[in-house]
């Protein structure tokens, strides 16, 4: 039993690591594969969360909307090329209900522009619900809560 829980816990860790490394390595096409079909992905701010405001910066309900985000950034949106580097903190299990794990971890994302300018782009926390049924770990929900109210320039790649 304990071994099984440890194995599941490691799968969740692996999901969170793979997610960041895929984005940091420019494998943006892999992004939606970390989510369940009907998953929710939201980027919001600490201020919106504290006030109970439902509208953040990005909201995708279902992988279709996530696919549209990726298609848009690859074919429609104009922006200066840049890369992310995610630094994440330890993971806390907030709640577990059978195959659903509510977990929380902190992040810092550095952004490096094609000009060489590297800055701290965002800090905050991930509030995740990870589904581990069928021996696979994937996000049923990922809420990205940014500490700041402000985005520098624009946000186009998922955090």
């Amino acid at each position: 039993m304990l071994m099984q829980a440890t194995a599941t816990y490691e799968k969740i860790h692996q999901l969170l690591r793979d997610y960041c490394h895929a984005l940091d390595d420019g494998e943006v096409d892999r992004w939606t594969s970390f989510f369940q079909d009907d998953a929710i992905y939201q980027i919001t701010t600490r201020e919106n969360l504290a006030n109970g405001y439902p509208l953040g910066i990005v909201l995708c309900e279902g992988r279709g909307m996530m696919e549209d985000r990726i298609k848009a950034l690859k074919t429609a949106n104009i922006f200066e090329s840049h890369t992310y580097c995610h630094i994440t903190g330890p993971l806390d299990v907030v709640e577990q209900m059978e195959d659903r794990w509510a977990v929380r971890s902190n992040f810092a994302v550095y952004r490096t522009m094609y000009t060489g300018e590297a800055t701290l782009f965002a800090t905050g926390k991930y509030l995740d619900v990870v589904d581990t049924s069928g021996g696979q770990a994937s996000f049923a929900e990922r809420v990205v809560v940014i500490d700041s109210r402000t985005i520098d320039t624009l946000l186009v790649y998922p955090l």
Binding site: I43, T44, T45, E47, N48, N51, Y53, P54, L55, G56, I57, V58, L59, C60, E61, G62, R63, G64, M65, M66, E67, D68, R69, K71, A72, T75, A76, N77, I78, F79, E80, R149, T150, I151, D152, T153, L154, L155, V156
Partner: protein, 436 residues
Amino acid sequence: MQPPTMQTASSCPGASAAPITQASAATPPADFRWPEGGVARVPFQVFSDPAIYALEQEKIFRGPVWHYLCLETEVRKPGDIKTSWLGDTPIIVTRDENGAVHAMINRCAHKGALVCLKERDNKPSLTCVYHSWNYALDGKLKSVAFQDGIRGKGGMPEDFDPARHRLEPLRVELYCGMVFGTYSQETEPLRDFLGERIGAFMERNMDHPLKILGVHSQIIHNNWKLYAENVRDSYHATLLHTFYTTFKVNRLDMDGGIVLSDKKWHHISYSKRATLQAADEYKQANVHAAKYGSDLDGPELLKAWDGFDDGITHSIQTVFPTLVMQLTLNSLAVRFFVPRGVDKTELFWVFLGYETDTPEQQKMRVMQGNLTGAAGLVALEDGCINSFVQRGTGSSPQQSAFIEMGGRTAESNESSRATEAAVRGFWHGYREIMGF
């Protein structure tokens, strides 16, 4: 035409006892001349010259102009406090115990420290943390710590009169759920400042019980006027922002137009979905999906309803200098932008609904929030495009922009949006008030 002489903001109500000399030190660079070509040319110098920036603070932000400060719902209850900005100047907006809304400069009458340090608060009075000078919610000085000294020693001089000191007030008007302030006694009444047509359209969109759905801001690395131009620029919309065309969202062939205010300072850009045959349908059921045929994998993004019976489905409206109201599909938002230096601007997004929205309507507004804002699918390019101009023009202050799409004058055009008329309208107002 000679611009009218503008009164500098040296007289404020309540300021007479302690005269405030708003030094008129800012002057335009001696060699600055607006180029030939009127409002169809814009000298790049205005985007990068610190002396012009300083002059704008005096002539525009402390001048005879109404400025958006916050939403009325942000100071709904007695004791509510909201901080804001009027150009570089930090502002406090309050509602007092009698329900009156006040605005004042966030600067203690003692040493000039910020009095309010939070973006939002609720307090019975305002106290500066430095030396505990305490002000009523209307900004009047109530008490000074140790005014009579301690054990008879120290204290203020005998002729110290608290009534002669206060937080410097602004004039305030409330309209369409928004709080406007002005520093100058010379500013005309707000409705006259806006003009009839601008006011009427604001009422259409904003004169409802407003509810905040979400807020964030965006730092854009450009002079504030480049965003003021950008948001008036209907020419770029379908050229730079290709989300709709890329995803083959139907009904893109919209009729629309540009309306300039009487003085040309403010504008409305509107469009109508071309085939609006749903009149009966939306009378029967106020809410229905717009059924955009598209290549979207998540078409619920564009689920919408027709909220008005004038056929206008998209609108952007500006009020000079730094206020924007959008109602694109059902996505209602106030944008206002605050200069943070000659080459930096903070753009605030306040997404709104009406208190009367059904849960389904609110959900549609929330989903459509994906279209605009810092990560807006349709318009995120505006976060960087103005910095391209800033970087392109910084080294060439003597060169000028060429703005002749749709003619050389600033006039309304209700048959086409392939025009830069509203951009010229902005420069018309800017030149008038700056004396350029």
